[in-house]
Symmetry: C2
Subunit: 403 residues, 2 copies
């Protein structure tokens, strides 16, 4: 049964080629003898699989180990630079596109202003154009492209890559994003294009970049909306219909009489999102319209703004206290635009979570600000593709075709 760390390979287990490769994914160079020891596989099996992985370019020679006499044994390591990934974060008013290697390292990136509301064709044409430019600039052949990961600012049916009733994305509902992108690249289904909503992607990116060993992580985006991305047992938890993490419309007692854009009353989002905090300030006579206005006021030292942000943190913390009791994460990462208010927001969150959650569930809990910042989305989109194309099943299938 899985614990927090991957279990050691049982002696004598039938470890597949795909799993041998997983051992090497950490980037360390190893000899055939070391790999035999780690995996319990026969030396002859290791040799065959090393050859197959070399012929795919997924691993390469990495110098020689010290010899105890005779010819020094060769070392092998994962060739993260052998393929590239296009990672796309589509926001409400911009797109960020990154080219990464198979280790998730960003090689280059480009940013463009475009309204998501202009529709999928214009947005995706721009994405594909920019992606081609990035490939050219990096001197990489499109055939070296391992896949394209895309985050969208609305609900997505992940299994098909189609947006599902996205509120701020007219024209996108049900649009076949993968098929369109594959065609625009002159490719078919063999080019992996995976799509998910932005909060899920950010959770993946934050975890991949900064919390790789945490199996239970909660990412909270606080911006125009409020949403959560859930990692449980190391996997993104999307729920039965892909709506998991939708905490913005949990009702709070403090919200009585406050109307939400969803039509209900007292939703978290109506109290603690960027525009909601701005509206509360404006009602108290402090001019503010957007989350950015709030951040600017905080930067200028406005006491009212600092207090309003802390209260937003408390409101979010009240909902997160229930999430902590329910999910027992080891890390909660607070991201999204309003998280730039830093400790003022975090202090409010921590206040309520540590007050309201069970001691056992908070003993080792860390509540931190996003470290990936506005790159969380592209890091996660890249990770989504990497985890897919380098999974044991996929590598196993690839090697079976080579053999």
């Amino acid at each position: 049964m899985p614990g927090t760390a991957p279990p050691p390979a049982p002696a004598g287990s039938a470890l597949r080629a795909g799993e041998l490769f997983q051992v090497l994914r950490d980037g360390r160079a190893r000899t055939r003898a070391e790999l035999a020891e780690i995996t319990g596989l026969a030396r002859s099996t290791i040799a065959t699989r090393i050859d197959a992985l070399m012929s795919c370019g997924l691993i390469g020679p990495a110098g020689e180990a010290l010899s105890s006499g005779g010819r020094p044994p060769s070392r092998f390591a994962f060739s993260a630079s052998s393929r590239v990934v296009v990672a796309v974060d589509v926001g409400a008013t911009h797109v960020l596109i990154a080219l990464t290697d198979l280790g998730g390292r960003v090689l280059d990136e480009s940013r463009a202003a475009i309204e998501v509301s202009v529709g999928p064709v214009a947005v995706l044409d721009l994405v594909v154009e920019q992606a081609r430019n990035l490939l050219t600039r990096a001197g990489r052949d499109p055939r070296e492209l391992a896949g394209i990961g895309i985050g969208l600012p609305g609900p997505v049916e992940h299994s098909t890559g189609r947006p599902a009733n996205p509120p701020i994305m007219p024209g996108w509902d049900g649009f076949d994003v993968p098929a369109y992108v594959q065609r625009a690249f002159g490719r078919g289904k063999e080019l992996d294009v995976l799509v998910d909503n932005d909060v899920n992607i950010m959770a993946l990116g934050e975890r991949a970049g900064f919390w790789p060993v945490e199996e239970n992580l909660l990412f909270i985006k606080v911006a125009t909306g409020i949403g959560a991305g859930i990692v449980g047992r190391g996997l993104l938890q999307r729920g039965a219909d892909g709506t998991a993490g939708d905490i913005g419309h949990v009702r709070l007692a403090r919200g009585e009489g406050v109307l939400c854009r969803c039509g209900n009353v007292g939703c978290l989002e109506a109290l603690a999102s960027g525009p909601a905090v701005a509206a509360a300030l404006a009602a108290a006579g402090v001019p503010a319209e957007t989350g950015d206005d709030v951040l600017e006021l905080v930067r200028r030292g406005s006491l009212e703004a600092v207090q309003a942000v802390r209260q937003a943190g408390r409101d979010i913390g009240e909902v997160l206290a229930t999430c902590v009791n329910l999910l027992n994460p080891s890390v909660i990462v607070i991201g999204g635009g309003l998280s730039a208010a830093g400790e003022y927001l975090l202090a409010g969150v921590r206040e309520m979570v540590y007050q309201r959650s069970l001691p056992l569930a908070t003993a080792r809990l860390r509540i931190v600000q996003s470290m990936a910042g506005d790159r969380a989305g592209v890091l996660g989109a890249s990770r989504m593709i990497i985890d897919h194309v380098l999974s044991p099943d996929r590598i196993g299938a690839l090697l079976a075709d080579v053999a």
Copy 2:
């Protein structure tokens, strides 16, 4: 990436012996040719692996298929009766022990009254004695035992099988349950003994028995305490410290001034558990002390009791509304003692969940009463062992040793 159903095996994939066996776990008899078609494996590979699985006794011949001329081809099927599992549900005042086959079918069971507070040695000695009796009565050799699954009424560190600060189990804290049971059976670590808390076990049992294709399920136990067992992407979600599902101490606005046994105020458990409902009735002049008293009053048609149970349902539903937004399960199963109040409790739960949760998250959500009833625990304890010993990795390792 996994959707709600297992993906079909890709053509040409390197499917292991362990995975070939997973195909057969549904119990259907298949010919070598059918297995080759399903798995994409070569006929020669199929033949070798069938032989190995037969020699372990995990599959057996299952008659002959219709022939298109020549000798009719043999069929093979999973031999669920080849090994047995001891499944144990330890409650506060009783133990239920079942003997099941590898399909989770209950072959025999026994029940005994014992207080969990007498400590681990007395309880586990009784469990082992009853388990031996069940094996003898079924004419099964102890060597046919595939493993022992145990549910305990308190927090358990699942990776070690040790209870962790269990409130109602004096003497159990940190006790090495697996080692004790292995010794009592005259065995060592090769006998699989897995332990988890009762709510997790019940969630597994309910899913295995009645919702096997649902990947996202929430089981709620409403009894002396209130807790949840979470299945996400088909796996039990235990959280970072094993405390996931602890929803009994979420604070409700209605609970102001109501002291909980945890020391906090307004907890769900202090409002909606069996004893809490009884206390509310007693305070209103209707004599009741326990959850069972409440059930008896409901059965006798007490309007006050019916109303109190429905209000408990609303309180539980208020917390579950947040859980639904967060996790987007397709099924919520309400179990535990107070769930015997049936539709009265469910109506309150549904009222709040459908009012407070997002339409997208509740469109296909079912909220149902436990069907496994007081067998949910043993069914889940059995399933925990079966999923462990029949996992692709374990079968793969087993067959590597045979080969």
